[in-house]
């Protein structure tokens, strides 16, 4: 709804924006995940176990994976920068799970390819904008001054903090987040459990990347089914005393 209103607003009030610069380009993000923090949220572990894990792993940090977001004013596509993960010294590689998040803000549709739980799911549905709160903090990310916004994921019960650029008026964002007055350049899930930060922003024509389609087979489901899958998996894993995020994306 908000999106629709916004579009009407944009069309009606502003008419043709005087700033002629076309808002399109590609953002490269570094995605880091703190497994110790994530494991520390598992209710089935005792404080003793959590603290031991924290102490033992104090000197280790996981290496970021690179993600890319192609965007223009109406559309975005977020995916792995490379199909294969490669170790720092380059001597070891494995295939990244498919994760292709397509958004069309004009049509208010999404078209996602998410590989999880041993299968590939195709989710084509209408868009639902998260309910954002705007906060009073400013921070610089990759040369852009960003403002803080907050929401929460009701399924995974995560606190989500987004930092959006004041000077890139595009609604796109990394992972499955969008719907702010500016491009989201940093996303922080649950106080640092996973952090996705823009490392490079390049303004260029990305119509080719946005329109390119790769045929991927998978099971077609709706957003509601996807939410239910995630919810059930988290419930089952927690009951089985396993970390659900070994097999789904955090």
């Amino acid at each position: 709804m908000i999106m629709k209103k916004l579009l009407i607003l944009l069309l009606v009030t502003i008419g043709a924006p005087s700033m002629a610069q076309k808002m399109e380009g590609v953002v490269t993000y570094d995605r880091t995940q703190d497994y110790v923090k994530i494991m520390s949220r598992m209710t089935f572990l005792s404080l003793d176990q959590k603290e031991r894990m924290k102490a033992t792993n104090k000197n280790y940090s996981s290496r970021p994976t690179q993600m890319v977001l192609y965007f223009n004013e109406d559309q975005s596509l977020y995916t792995n920068e490379s199909e294969y993960w490669r170790s720092e010294n380059g001597q070891w590689s494995y295939r990244n799970s498919d994760y292709i998040i397509r958004r069309d803000f004009k049509q208010e549709t999404k078209s996602d390819v998410i590989e999880m739980l041993g299968r590939t799911y195709l989710i084509d549905d209408s868009l639902k904008t998260p309910q954002w709160k705007i906060l009073n903090q400013l921070k610089d990310i990759a040369g852009h001054i960003c403002m803080k916004a907050e929401t929460e994921d009701p399924i995974k019960q995560q606190k989500v903090v987004a930092w959006f650029a004041q000077d890139i008026p595009v609604s796109a964002g990394p992972e499955q987040y969008f719907g702010l007055p500016g491009l989201i350049l940093e996303l922080d899930l649950n106080d640092g459990d996973a952090v996705i930060t823009a490392s490079k922003i390049e303004m260029r024509d990305v119509s080719k990347e946005l329109t390119a389609t790769k045929k991927i087979k998978g099971k077609k489901i709706k957003t509601a089914d996807y939410d239910k899958l995630i919810k059930d998996h988290i419930q089952t894993s927690t009951k089985a005393q396993e970390n659900p995020y070994w097999t789904i994306r955090y």
Binding site: D48, A55, N89, G90, E115, G118, L135, I145, L180, A240
Partner: protein
């Protein structure tokens, strides 16, 4: 027509109803800067006043104007943001009109230095709350020990003069509060001059109403600059510890405790334990609590290049590091154990230091009964051995590890470990030998009493330097190691050997040994390795390595015959020898990694030189010399492929195993006069060609796992213990190299949930088929040892209050001796087990563990059943379950006998060891971090 009318009607009605007030309004306005210039392209957001939720947003047009149409009539917060300007917040309270025009709203620029220094340079989030600007103190570096005053000097927009007077944005700061409260009176300098900078998390600067305005309650419009210091929530400083004490029947006791203190950089811990329930060392949890961040350092191995059979010690009491025994009970004998130590870690991003001292001692009493049948070409004999042993060993260990990141490309690691140990052992043995068609005739008897004592010192040091080049994938590493092992031992050996068939005039012949010996051995080793990796492309890498080691052994062993004339040196058993081993290996391999394919292949050439000499003593004129060269080419191939939920691996390599030092020593060990061990200075390294492959499927959705592995090994120059048994049934073994032995193995693992989260079935089948050649009395013998195992377990977790884990294990060992096919035999081991946990009311838990073991050997009509049942009831109490009281019944049926059955080479044996059997123990634990019931048995690997 009708429709139109309807619409008309509807419109009229609605207008009538909402004539006074429509519930939809328009909010408009325009944005300017402080000099009234229009601001096009500013972001304008409409938020709810309650929780700042974003309702709508837009941007100002080229005239700096904005308009929100058709929004609900409600109060809002209008927020305006523009790069380089302070976000503006305006409360919007629509009146009765359709349009709320906010007029021109000016926005203030952010002070340039704030923007550049705080946001851009320090990358610190800058919080703006109305008038308040908040600095993140952690982003501004001040030397340790600095006061807040020095921190404030660093903050842009703040000035602190000589006297400590503070100015913010040019205005005097009249008030400094700490966490919103006035700090010891009204002088603002008191807080800033006394508080340490590192206790502060945030500095907030804001305009406060004057004291006068506050007391009168009349806002005079004047504002004073005020600073608030927010203290760090926690300095992440703390301590934790736990203690367990227990007493039991039969004088059983256990005590263990540890305490840790830590802050962000340092960790200090102490640990201690004592018990007589056979727990000899630390459990993994204890070890991790003790060593903390330095529990595991994976890159401390200085021998680069592909694996060639080097032994890497981790854990165990024989190693040089802190011993980990898993915390379980040793089932051999009775031991009384004491241990304790202290550890200190210092970790920063660049420097990591760890040092510790650990002492442990273990006194062991061991009584065992052995029954062993040995097969010779066309005959066999049986012997029984009743042994009593008492021993005490003490270890002092010290270690230090230092890691320095010199810069982003260079790292240096220095590790030093040392151990000083000593101990003594008394061993009594009563052996009887039987021969005849049914092994019914006792033909000889041996009794011996041996006393040993030793003193040892070991040192292991390694330095590793790693350099990463700027070119991605190009790496260099070098290592240098120096190791020493210095051991002095002495022994007294007294034995009486009676041979009933070998009669003399005075009866059976009796042969006595009365010997003392003193052995001192010193080994030093210098090792060095180099490694260089060059990227040939993004996916292909070329690695080259070189290993060098120079080892020097020196052993001086003096054996004396003790008789009526006193001690006389035994020239045949005394030995002096030295050995110099030089080892060089150079190798190269290509690694390819792309699209889930990881392949590597390479070759190494190894050259090994041994120069030794030995004689019966140092001054001897005729030394026997050993001078050998050995060269071998060693290949190594590994393939690894990962696909969605599937993985596949295959490999071919050659393991090179150096002979053990004890096997190389040209020494005769007659401590058991019926089983004499000789060393062989001519031994060559053994090579094993091994081919292996595996396949795994894992379905994370259905939790079905399948893993299949196979491997085949072919031995060249395998070190085997050839036996010569003389007519008096004295066995002499000597290690020799033999080629042709093989080992084949295969395993299938399958696990799937019968009912998700409630029941999981795990099955595992594995088999080992070994072909083992030896010479028995000079005749080649081939032992085929085929072992088949089936394992099945069920994880039943129907509720949080009840879990049950039944297991079943079945193993058959089929052994064939070519030297004496009549002796071919099969032994069976079954084990039915179960682990049950029940949560009872009032924080009480119950645990029952059952193990029902059956040993069968049909050929000897041997069958033994051992039901071992352990029960425990425990209660958690106090806040956060910090305390636990536990009652344990160990081996309820009093059946524990420590039985092992083995069939190898040319023998089959059954051993029974007296060990911990039934006892009851009451124990109390207290853990500052809280204790947990053990309802589940899954072990988390972190």
């Amino acid at each position: 027509m009708r429709k139109l009318f309807l619409l008309l009607l509807l419109t009229v009605c609605c207008q009538a109803a909402f004539a006074q007030q429509s519930n939809r309004i328009t909010i408009r306005g325009s944005i300017t800067d402080t000099s009234k210039a229009i601001m096009p392209g500013a972001t304008v957001m409409l938020l709810t006043p309650k929780d700042s939720a974003l309702v709508n947003f837009g941007r100002t047009n080229d005239k700096g104007a904005f308009e929100f149409r058709n929004v609900k009539r409600a109060p809002y917060i209008l927020k305006v943001s523009y790069v380089g300007f302070l976000p503006l917040q305006v409360e919007v309270n629509p009146d009765n009109s359709e349009v709320t025009d906010l007029g021109a709203l000016p926005i203030k620029p952010i002070q340039k230095e704030l923007l550049e220094v705080v946001i851009k340079a320090a990358k610190a989030p800058l919080s703006i709350r109305g008038d308040t600007i908040e600095y993140n103190a952690a982003s501004f570096k001040v030397p340790p020990g600095s006061t807040v005053e020095e921190l404030l000097r660093k903050l842009p927009g703040m000035q602190v003069d000589q006297e400590g007077n503070i100015k913010a944005q040019g205005e005097n700061v009249t008030k400094v509060t700490v966490d919103g409260k006035t700090f010891f009176g009204s002088d603002p300098k008191l807080a800033t001059k006394n508080l340490p900078a590192d206790a502060i998390s945030k500095v907030q600067v804001f305009n406060d109403k004057t004291e006068a305005a506050k007391t009168t309650g009349i806002d005079d419009g004047k504002r004073e600059k005020a600073v608030n210091l927010e203290l760090k929530e926690s300095h992440r400083k703390g301590g934790f510890g736990k203690v367990t004490a227990g007493v039991g029947t039969k004088d059983r006791f256990q005590l263990r405790g540890n305490y840790n203190r830590f802050n962000t950089k340092e960790q200090m811990s102490v640990i201690g334990l004592g018990n007589n329930i056979n727990q000899t060392g630390l459990s993994f949890d204890d070890y991790q609590d003790f060593r903390g961040s330095q529990s595991f350092n994976w890159e401390d191995q200085g021998d680069f290049g592909f694996y060639s059979g080097g032994v890497y010690f981790f854990g165990g009491d024989d190693g040089i590091g802190v011993p980990i025994t898993g915390g379980g009970s040793n089932s051999r004998g009775f031991s009384r154990n004491y241990a304790g130590g202290a550890n200190y870690n210092y970790d920063t991003k660049k420097t990591k230091l760890s040092s510790n001292y650990f002492y442990n001692q273990s006194g062991l009493t061991l009584n065992s009964d052995l029954e062993k049948e040995t097969f010779l070409p066309n005959s066999s004999f049986l012997n029984t051995d009743h042994k009593s042993q008492g021993s005490l060993t003490r270890n002092h260990r010290g270690s230090a590890r230092f890691e320095q990141k010199i810069d982003s490309l260079n790292t240096l690691v220095i590790i030093g470990n040392l151990r000083a140990n000593n101990g003594n052992t008394a061993l009594f043995s009563d052996q009887n030998f039987f021969e005849g068609p049914n092994q019914e005739t006792r033909t000889s008897q041996t009794n011996f009493a041996n006393y040993n004592q030793f003193n040892g010192f070991q040192l292991a040091t390694t330095a590793i330097y790693r350099h990463t080049f700027r070119k991605k994938g190009r790496n260099f590493a070098a290592s240098l190691a120096y190791n020493v092992n210095d051991t002095d031992g002495s022994a007294q050996q007294r034995s009486t050997n009676t041979y009933f068939n070998d009669t003399t005039a005075t009866g059976p012949s009796v042969f006595r040994i009365n010997q003392d010996n003193v052995t001192s051995s010193l080994r030093t080793e210098i090792k060095s390795s180099l490694d260089y990796t060059e990227p040939l492309s993004k996916t292909t890498f070329w690695e080259t390595f070189y290993n060098f080691s120079l080892r020097n052994d020196k052993v001086d062993r003096d054996v004396f015959n003790v008789g009526d004339q006193g001690s006389v040196r035994n020239e045949t058993l005394s030995r002096y020898y030295t050995n110099d081993f030089t080892y060089n290996r150079i190798g190269s391999l290509i690694r390819y990694s792309d699209k889930g394919f990881n392949v590597s292949g390479g070759l190494a050439g190894m050259w090994f030189h041994q120069a030794g000499q030995f004689a019966s003593n140092q001054g001897s004129p005729n030394f026997t010399k050993v001078d050998r060269n050995y060269f071998s080419v060693v290949p190594n191939i590994s393939v690894n492929y990962n696909k969605k939920n599937k993985r596949f691996n295959a490999g071919y390599n050659v393991n090179v195993n150096q002979p053990q030092t004890s096997d190389l020593q040209p020494v005769v060990d007659n401590s058991n006069p019926r089983f004499i061990r000789e060393g062989n200075p001519n031994l060559l390294p053994s090579l094993t060609h091994r081919v292996s492959g595996g396949f795994g499927v894992f379905n994370p959705g259905s939790f079905v796992n399948v893993f299949v592995n196979v491997n085949y090994g072919y031995n060249i120059n395998q070190i085997v213990y050839n036996q010569t048994v003389n007519e008096l049934l004295v066995t002499t073994t000597r290690p020799e190299n033999i080629s042709g032995g093989t080992s084949k193995g295969g395993s299938v693992y399958f696990s799937f949930p019968i009912k998700k989260t409630k029941a999981v079935l795990n099955t595992n089948f594995y088999t080992n088929l070994n072909k083992f050649p030896t010479f028995i009395n000079g005749i080649p013998n081939q032992t085929n040892n085929n072992n088949y195992n089936a394992y099945m377990s069920l994880d039943l977790t129907p509720s949080e209050k009840f879990t049950f884990y039944p297991t079943f294990n079945f193993s058959i060992t089929d052994t064939k001796y070519s030297v004496n096919t009549a002796q071919n035999l099969t032994i069976y081991n079954y084990n039915y087990g179960g682990n049950m946990n029940v949560q009872l009311p009032k924080g009480i838990f119950f645990n029952g563990r059952m193990s029902y073991q059956i040993y069968k050997n049909p050929k000897f009509d041997f069958r033994q059943e051992l039901p071992i049942l352990n029960l425990a009831v425990y209660k958690l109490f106090l806040k956060d379950n910090k305390a636990e009281v536990r009652l344990t019944a160990y081996d309820v049926f009093n059946k524990n006998r420590g039985i092992t059955q083995q069939a190898y080479q040319n023998y089959v044996q059954t051993e029974r060891v007296q060990t911990l059997a039934r006892y009851f123990m009451l124990s109390f634990s207290y853990n500052l971090r809280g204790l947990k019931s053990q309802m589940r048995q899954n072990n988390y690997i972190y």
